[in-house]
Amino acid sequence: MSANVDSKLVAQLEDKSYKIRKDLLNFVYHIGMGHLGGELSIVELAVALYYKYMNYDPKNPQWEERDRLVLSKGHCGETLYAIYADLGMYTTEYMLEHFESLDTAVFGQHPNRKYIDPIEVSCGSLGHGLPIAVGLALGARMQKANWRTFVVVGDGEIQEGTNWEAIMAAAQFQLGNLVCIVDKNRLQMSGATADTMNIDPLDEKFRAFNWDVMEMQGNDMADVVRCLEQLPPSTIEKRKPLAIISNTTKGCGVDFMENTWKWHGGGIAKEQLDQALASVEKKYQALIANRK
């Protein structure tokens, strides 16, 4: 499936993903709160976007021509924070010190664009990111600007009706500069998405709403790269908007967090942290061993 991808690139992005996973776990351990399940499932995606597929300059997060990333599942902001630290935008110490710290707070579980430069949209209430992304994409077209808007939506989140209004709108306006990525980790807050309110067949739904659809194994970097290499260039001309269904594992990388809604939210104790880091390291070593 991933025969033609650049294996060096994949290895680099994989290395980064495993570092980010560990940083994220440490961060959540220190602040005592987070949403690790959904934060771990988007690591490969977020790394691939920030380090390769978004037109982005970490030294200049307000650069006009940058691609925009809207993290609609705002409860997973700490994944982005770990990346910002790795990109040198903030130190981890600074983030810890300014995390939900009353009037010195910059960082919170749900990111606020007024305080964090690289955050494009303040989110946390589900079902807002996609409509806002449609507005951003329309705005880019009005300004004849070439940047692209990516929006990351949770698979539980997509149950919110606002998404479907925006899905219609994006197709109506033929937003060729919009990419909606659904992090399909198959779990939401209190159970499996399929048992709660089934969203499938999601690909057929998007197609029926006049979107193009691509699919990837979102925790397999080789497949993420394969998929994102096929991104058509962004255009302000009329073209179908693009949905990427990213099949992932909630809690990915930490064996005892994988595939359970019980790790949707909360903090992590020291002992669990150590176990989690060991689990991530083990998977990483297995990955490297397979590389040759």
Binding site: E100, L102, A105, H110, S125, S190, G191, M197, K262
Partner: protein, 322 residues
């Protein structure tokens, strides 16, 4: 008529979120019919989730879809049921405002919308704070608005709701809030405020978790030579205006205390009553200021905005000019 409060005890924490689910389970066990709706917010580990496991045929989980939830709850009520719907706090008034207004209230059905994580109790910042709900609810006809002071009172509200006619809002906290009442041996009636502690210099009127902090403030004020009455205004609509007027006349000073914006909530309701009654009464609203709140745990945020015992006491003392 004195009620027994936790005034003289160490803090005891209980969860209204757990209590209401247990009460629903008890009601179901008694053979009383109702329907229950949730939106990916009643995991099997919580009491409402356990009730859902035991009585699955009367329960529905609509997924993350609060507007749909209130609409579905209304339809279930129109089919003849009393309906309890648990909604994640902020997304009830804000996301489903139209459905509360036009589906539940305009159709005037027996829907009990239980908004959890109210005020700043959720943590997680402004997207998860519930600061504008009372202002919205107060302006919607037909709604009854209850804000139980603690977990025990929440049970009483749930019981009372079984025979109450029309749509209700039941505003509760995240869970793990201090008890106000030492036991449940007191009379509770929707719309009838309760004096939890008598006093003669000022009346502190609270609702929800603020009642406890007002009570603790009265303790602090006592050490400063000020006798504070504390009133539990557990129903915001219909509003017990008589009680407010009586307290204003008897104590000459009134202060509202709430885990909500100072605009349009309990303080607004008290202010309207006092202004229209033309009373010579000192008055102050304590609540969250007109800004998106700072981020922190509820206790930290209360302290920051002077809504903890010491802060409330300071504000009351300043109002009295003592």
């Amino acid at each position: 008529m004195a009620v027994e409060t936790t005034f003289d005890f160490d803090m005891m924490l209980s969860s209204a979120r757990e209590a209401y689910g247990e009460e629903l389970m008890a009601i179901a066990d008694e053979g009383i019919d109702f329907a229950f709706v949730c939106s990916d917010n009643a995991p099997e580990s919580c009491s409402a989730g356990k009730m859902m496991s035991k009585y699955p045929e009367r329960c529905v989980n609509v997924g993350i879809a609060e507007q749909d939830e209130v609409g579905i709850a209304t339809g279930l009520a129109l089919s003849g049921k009393v309906v309890f719907a648990q909604v994640f706090g902020p997304f009830l008034p804000l996301r489903a405002a139209d459905q509360i207004h036009t589906d539940a209230a305009y159709n005037d059905v027996n829907v009990r919308l239980i908004g959890t994580h109210s005020g700043v109790t959720s943590g997680g910042g402004p997207t998860h704070n519930v600061i504008a709900d009372l202002a919205l609810y107060r302006a919607i006809p037909n709604l009854t608005i209850c804000v139980p002071a603690d977990a025990g009172q929440c049970r009483k509200v749930i019981r009372a709701s079984l025979t109450h006619q029309g749509p209700m809002i039941i505003r509760i906290s995240r869970g793990g809030e201090p008890d106000v009442y030492a036991n449940n041996d007191y009379d509770f009636e929707i719309g009838k405020a309760i004096t939890v502690r008598d006093g003669k210099d000022i009346t502190l009127i609270g609702c929800g978790p603020s009642v406890y902090w007002a009570l603790m403030a009265s303790k602090e004020l006592e050490t400063r030579g000020i006798s504070a009455r504390v009133v539990d205004m557990h129903t915001i609509k219909p509003f017990d205006a008589e009680k407010v007027i009586k307290c204003a006349k008897e104590t000459g000073a009134v202060m509202s205390v709430e885990d909500h914006s100072i605009n349009g909530g309990l303080g607004g309701a008290v202010a309207e009553v006092l202004a229209e009654a033309n009373l010579d009464c000192k008055f102050k609203r304590a609540g969250l200021p007109d800004q998106f709140a700072v981020l922190g745990s509820p206790e930290e945020v209360y302290k920051y905005y002077h809504l903890d015992a010491a802060g409330i006491a300071d504000t009351a003392q300043a109002l009295l000019g003592k």
